[in-house]
Every structure is written in C-alpha cells, then in structure tokens.
C-alpha cells in the first residue's frame, strides 16, 4: 500500500495535520413560541444543548467523544464541521478561527450520505473535483483509485450505493472524506448503523488506515471498545441539557493496536470500567429525569 505522501501532489497537500481547539462553546437551540406555532401546536422550549465546552486536540491525535445519547455530541461535531454555528465560543484550527464548512475538515456521516445517483467512483470524484477543481483529470482519477484501494473497494467502482451493503457504503464515506486530504477527520457514529461483525471489520480498517494517514480525528461513538481500540484520548460528556465535558481519559496503549490483544494492557480494564461507570451513571440520570422532570 502506498503512503499518503505519494498520494497527493505537493501543491495540493495542506499541512499534514492540525491543532484543533474548542473555546468555550455553547449551543442554545431557540424555542418556538410565536402565535403561528401556538396555533399549530408546535411550540418548543429553548434548549441549551451543550455549554462551555473547552478542548484542545493536538495534531495527529485520535480523539473519541462518548456520552449518553442526546447529550449533544452531534451538535458539537456539526459545530466543528461548520455546519452549525455555536451560540457562544469559537472553533479554531491552527489558531485560525473557523465559522463555515471547508475541505480542511472531512466529515464521515452516520447515514453514509452518499449520493445515490453517483457510482462509488463518482462519489469520490465529486469530492476531489469540488475541492481541487484545477487538478488535472488524470490526477483526480488516480487519487480516487488510491482511496478506493485504501478502503478495499477495488472492483466496486461502478456500483451505485443502493447496490452496496452498509459496511461498503461507509467505506465509500471514509474514502470520500479522506480523498480531499483534510487536516481533520470528523466522524459521527460512523459504524452505528452496522451489525457487530461489520463494525469490527471497519474499526480494524480505520485503525489500519490511520496508521497510514495520520490525521487529527474526532470520532463520536457509542462503543466503549471502539473508543479504546482507536483513540489516543477519550472525551466523556455529561448528560444534557447544558452537557459538558466530564473527563478526558488518556489511552496509552502502543500502536499498531490489535483488538485481540488490547485487554492485555494493564490500563485496559481500568479505563473500560471508568467509561462504563460514567455512561451508566449518566444514562440512569437521564432516565430518571424523564420519569420525574
């Protein structure tokens, strides 16, 4: 397999990785209470999803975010991606504040978000061509081929998404996000919709790919094992409303990591227990607040 350096021409390759900082980020979803809303019975209260999130992610770090469902993980990732604006605070990459989406951040979506009318190759080409419009076609094609190879999809180039399994679709999603050579890779529960076996395969793939293409990665996940296998750091969030960062765990296991041998490291069980306790405590609190608001 080629290394990332040969995949990208020098004039298009951005700095290989980036420092991401989240400064004091809050998100308040405004409520709906106008008279038309009241008439249509669709009023809602304003909702503080996340509040005061501060996080520094060093270059080339793989960071997972884990927390009870509904706590605001997607909200946070969308803010980092620039798809949504924080109510307060700012996101900066290498010290530069960012407020809009851009190809310096590649996004892998939970529901794959492949264009159904494009083949596998066209989906990836679309991304490359959008980000590097002046790049010669031959070079665009070779980048596309490289990344199709990287995620193990050779032979499926001319298939449309509806002909692919969920796992294969997400491989395309990952290839598309990487093919634009982003500095930061953002993934929102990328394997959440896959069955356990496929999820395991894709986690191993991501681990292998990340060994080749070190990038700053933010991964949102529900899975403790997934976080432990892939991350350098695990950010645990509290429940909402006004969810915050409860704790950041360092995952000191050497790389490359293997799923089978991971539990032999002395810290494995300590970390796993800490995460399980945190998640079950927060989830139970969420359940209780539903019963007795």
């Amino acid at each position: 397999m080629q290394s990332s350096k040969t995949m990208l021409s020098p004039e298009t390759s951005a700095p290989a990785a980036a420092h991401l900082s989240l400064n004091n980020i809050s998100k308040l979803f405004p409520g709906r209470n106008s008279w038309t809303d009241r008439l249509l019975r669709r009023t809602s209260k304003e909702f503080m999803a996340i509040s005061n999130i501060n996080l520094e992610v060093a270059p080339n770090r793989f960071v997972s975010i884990i927390g009870p469902s509904g706590c605001g993980k997607s909200t946070l990732l969308n803010i980092i991606a620039g798809l949504s604006q924080p109510t307060t605070g700012s996101v900066s990459i290498n010290g530069q504040s960012v407020t809009a989406p851009g190809p310096d951040r590649g996004v892998v979506f939970q529901n794959y978000a492949l264009m159904p009318w494009m083949t596998v190759a066209e989906n990836i080409r679309f991304a490359v061509e959008t980000v590097y419009p002046t790049m010669p076609i031959a070079e665009q094609k070779s980048i596309m081929q490289d990344y199709i190879g990287l995620v193990g999809l050779r032979g499926a180039e001319t298939k449309h998404p509806h002909e692919l399994s969920g796992g294969m679709k997400q491989r395309v999603g990952i290839a598309r996000a990487l093919a634009i050579n982003p500095q930061i890779l953002l993934m929102d529960e990328p394997f959440g919709a896959l069955d356990a076996l496929t999820r395991g395969f894709l986690q191993d793939e991501v681990e292998r790919i990340w060994e080749q293409e070190r990038k700053t990665v933010i991964l949102i996940t529900h899975s403790i094992e997934e976080a432990l296998l892939l991350s350098d750091q695990i950010v645990m969030m509290t429940r909402g409303p006004a969810a915050q960062i409860a704790q950041v765990l360092d995952v000191p296991f050497p790389r490359p990591r293997r799923r089978e041998t991971l539990d032999q490291y002395p810290d494995y069980h300590r970390l796993k227990t800490a995460m399980e306790q945190h998640l079950s405590y927060e989830t139970r609190a969420v359940e209780e607040s539903r019963i007795r608001p």
Partner: protein, 275 residues
C-alpha cells in the same frame, strides 16, 4: 386449530398455476363474460337499437386495426394517422409546458421569496379545467392548431411545476451538508446535487402531466378539429358507435404505453431512492 393449520400448509396440493397465470385466466374469463353479456343484450334487444353488438364491434375494431394509415382526405383517415396527429400535438404542447414548468419549478424550489410571490398565481390557475383556456387560446392565436398546443402546454405545466418545486425544496439535507463540507459552489450544488436528487420527483411530475395532457387532448380536439378527438365526435355524428369504442380502446392503450415509458424513466433516475 393447529391440526387445521398443519393440514393447510402440508396437505394442500400444490397449485398448478402461479398467481400471475391465475390472474390472466381470470382476466380472460371476465372479458368473455362481459362480451357474452353484451352480445346477449344486443340480440335480445335490451339496449337501444343504435348500440352495436359485441361481434360487430370486434369486426369494426379489426377493420380499423388492419389498415391504420389510410388517408382519403381530412375527414377519412386511418386510426393510426389520427393518433399520430393527436400524439404530435400532445408531445409538442407537453414539451412547451415542461420547458416552462421545470425551470420555473427549480427557481421557486430554490428561492423562498420567488416561491411565495408566485404561489398565488399557481394556486388560482391550477384547479381550472384546461378547457377553460381554449376560448382564450382561440382569441390569442386565431388558429385551432396553435390553440390545441396552448391548451396542452397549460395543462402540462401544473403537475410538473409543483413536483419540481417539491423535489428541489425537499432535497435530503445530508446531501446538501456533504456539498457544504466540501465547499461546493452554489451552481455546483444545484447541478450536481439538487437536480439529480430532485429528478425522481420531476419525472413523476412529467408523468402526471403527460397523462392529463392525453386526457385533455380528446376533449380539446372535439372542440377544435383533427386528431382522434375529432374522430370520436365525427363518428358520433355518423352514429358509428363501433368506431367510438375502437377509439376509446386505442386512446387508452396509447395512454398506457406512454405512462409505462415514463415509469421506466422514473426507475432509471431513482437509483433505489424512495418515490
């Protein structure tokens, strides 16, 4: 209870015909019963004397089918030629209408302001019977051929317009987010994402438009002249009911074929998306 269920699943002899074959046989049976009752009613003189028997209708149907393209002047043409005249009008009018409806639909789908501004016009004009436009067309064009195109064009606009607008303004937000995260320009987002995503809806609109245009052409031609609609009216004046029945069947068949073709087109642009 369980015994019965068991017997139902195991002991039942395997049917010789699959459901499709059964349905086909039933279809033939219904057709034969219908024709038989018709023939019986005619021989027993239950209907008015003007009503032909089934056998006579089939004979005349066959006469029209055996030589569809004869041409003895404008009032004596084969049914194929008549159909071609109507088809040409419908397709031309449909193309004109679609050429207005699709760009306009895209525009109002993309812009909320334009949408709100244009909406009152659409809402008021859409429910109007296309034939109400016919006198206006005659006044504007002073020509029955152009008036037919005018009426068909107006007819074809509404379903395509509304479906195009719906498709364009309801593109799945995740596709738009993909384009945004890549930093795609507005133009690129429209041509590469929004239009292909809306294509199934647009084609669905075209399909409905063409269907309605084909409904309307017969009525319009009764009022104007030429084509299969005029033929129907003419044969009523000649008291040739068999010709009218023939025309009804043929018009239905052509409508069915056009609908199926658009159904294929719809599948072709859908790529497994719903709708």
């Amino acid at each position: 209870m369980t015994n019965q269920a068991l017997r139902a699943t195991t002991a039942q002899p395997k049917p010789i015909l699959n459901p499709d074959q059964q349905a086909f046989l039933l279809f033939i049976a219904i057709l034969l019963v219908f024709l038989g009752l018709w023939e019986l009613g005619a021989t027993l003189k239950i209907f008015l004397p003007i009503m032909p028997s089934a056998s006579q209708t089939i004979q005349d149907f066959w006469f029209w089918m055996s030589d569809p393209f004869f041409d003895n002047g404008p009032n004596d043409q084969g049914i194929g030629l008549l159909l071609l005249t109507s088809l040409r009008r419908v397709l031309t009018g449909f193309l004109i209408g679609s050429a207005i409806a699709i760009p306009l639909g895209i525009l109002i789908g993309l812009s909320e302001v334009v949408s709100k501004a244009v909406d009152p016009f659409i809402q008021i004009l859409r429910p109007v019977s296309p034939l109400a436009w016919l006198p206006l067309g005659l006044a504007l064009m002073r020509d029955s051929e152009k008036t037919a195109l005018f009426v068909i064009a107006i007819t074809s606009i509404w379903p395509t317009l509304i479906n195009t607008k719906f498709g364009v303004s309801n593109v799945d937000v995740t596709y738009l987010n993909v384009a945004r995260t890549l930093g795609a320009s507005r133009w690129r987002t429209i041509t590469k994402v929004i239009l292909p995503a809306a294509a199934p809806n647009i084609v669905a609109g075209l399909r409905i438009s063409l269907g309605i245009a084909w409904l309307v052409i017969v009525a319009a031609e009764i009022l104007l002249s030429g084509g299969i609609g005029y033929f129907v009216w003419n044969e009523w004046n000649n008291l040739k009911i068999t010709s009218i029945i023939t025309a009804i069947l043929v018009v239905g068949l052509v409508g069915l074929i056009m609908d199926r073709l658009f159904g294929l087109l719809q599948n072709w642009v859908s790529f497994g998306q719903r709708s």
